[in-house]
């Protein structure tokens, strides 16, 4: 906290919208109703967010709406940021769920009861990679369908149900594809 204060004085910038302010400080300012801080936060995070969303949704208009919704949610929900962890990850968590909400109203995916015990965690995947090395080539050999469920669950941090909505497939299919993907990855890395 002290360090940031010193940085801001040295930089001579006007408050938290200056380039030296951390994301956390900006979120704190947004919580106080500082629109300039929201703009600064948007300048830092709007672009990568739009690009990343575009890889999950082909309709650019929806992507724009979701980015908009996300920063409005940041504006209104800044108090809910717990003050720890990457602000980028927090923003991504909001954005991907907004995207799913948008897609949910478009295509009705059948909801099946879910068993959460089948999902690999991001940690699990990372451990697989560290232990066995060549994760990249193993991932490369997965079919696009299997990679898509790995992306939705391990990389995007979604639950089976959320991943199902995002990909437009039933949750049961997400689970079977996940199991298959894990098996293939294990075999490739063994």
């Amino acid at each position: 906290m002290n360090r940031y204060g010193i940085e801001m004085r040295q930089g001579g910038m006007s408050g938290v919208s200056g380039p030296t302010a951390t994301d956390q400080e900006m979120v704190a300012a947004v919580r106080e109703g500082d629109a300039a801080a929201l703009r600064a936060l948007y300048d830092r995070h709007g672009t990568w967010l739009a690009i990343r969303l575009a890889r999950r949704c082909a309709d650019p208009a929806i992507v724009e709406e979701v980015v908009q919704d996300t920063f409005l949610a940041v504006w209104r929900g800044a108090a809910r940021y717990r003050g720890e962890g990457e602000v980028a990850a927090w923003i991504w968590g909001i954005a991907i769920r907004r995207l799913i909400d948008r897609l949910r109203t478009r295509r009705q995916t059948a909801e099946l009861p879910e068993r959460p015990d089948l999902e690999p965690s991001a940690e699990e995947l990372v451990l697989l990679g560290i232990e066995h090395g060549d994760l990249a080539s193993a991932m490369g050999r997965l079919s696009p369908e299997l990679r898509a469920v790995i992306q939705a669950t391990a990389l995007d941090g979604l639950t089976t149900r959320e991943a199902a909505h995002l990909l437009g497939i039933p949750p049961g299919t997400v689970k079977t594809r996940l199991m298959r993907a894990r098996r293939e990855l294990r075999e490739a890395l063994a």
Binding site: G46, W48, A50, F71, E86, A88, A136, G140, P144
Partner: protein
Amino acid sequence: MSWHVQAPTIDAYVSGRIDETAAFSVEAHVLACSQCREALSIRADTDRHERIWAGVREGIERPRERAAERLLRAMGVRNDLARLLATTPMLRGSWVVAVALTLAFAVIASRAAGGDPLPFLALAPLVPLAGITAAFGRPADPAWELELSTPTGGFTLMLIRSTAVLAVSVLLAGIAATALPHAGWEAAAWLLPALGLTVVTLAATSTRLSTVTAAATVGCGWLVLVVVTDRLTDRPLAAFGPGAQLAFAAMTAAAAVILQARHTAVERPTRI
């Protein structure tokens, strides 16, 4: 962080011409690396960036709807009506809490009086009156002058809000009435008086009387009537018997007719 995404990889990622495994790497890294996020940001489409921001700013500047408004809309109430009702001054939480407390005290008084429902029955009809005083008067509503000049100002607005007040009052009083000691027909005997006093007050407002004066006069008249009938007759709850109920029904109808006939008078600013 010592590792960063190489410029060609970033370009490939932005253009979408990248294999998925590499994209995974970029995305996992970008979430944790401000330097690489910046590298992505300088490749932004500026027009689009500003277009999205314009939408965000518009959303910020638009007033947030209250929870009550969202609830009303979810129940199928028209947008403009929902806003009108949600901004009704006396439907704010503080008013509802005050009414609930008043009714609770009335129930307690009735219980303390050996189960005599008179205190409750005398008070319950005054609740919507107090609400209406706040519903349509300069003291309570900061947008009072503005509302007089709007197309749905004056009479329509007063009716909409009075109906809302009456509905909430009746609901609250109805809940409170279930806590009366021996709740027989007496538990509902306040309903017609409440409706009658409300309509009479509204009709009185359409004359040169201010809302506060009208409500105070009608309210005091009501209390005098209740006390006097209670003292003069031997029958308990004389002011709430079948004959009295009929009289209230007739009075309500008469006041409604007056209200309809004189509604143009309410469109003019009343003296507060």
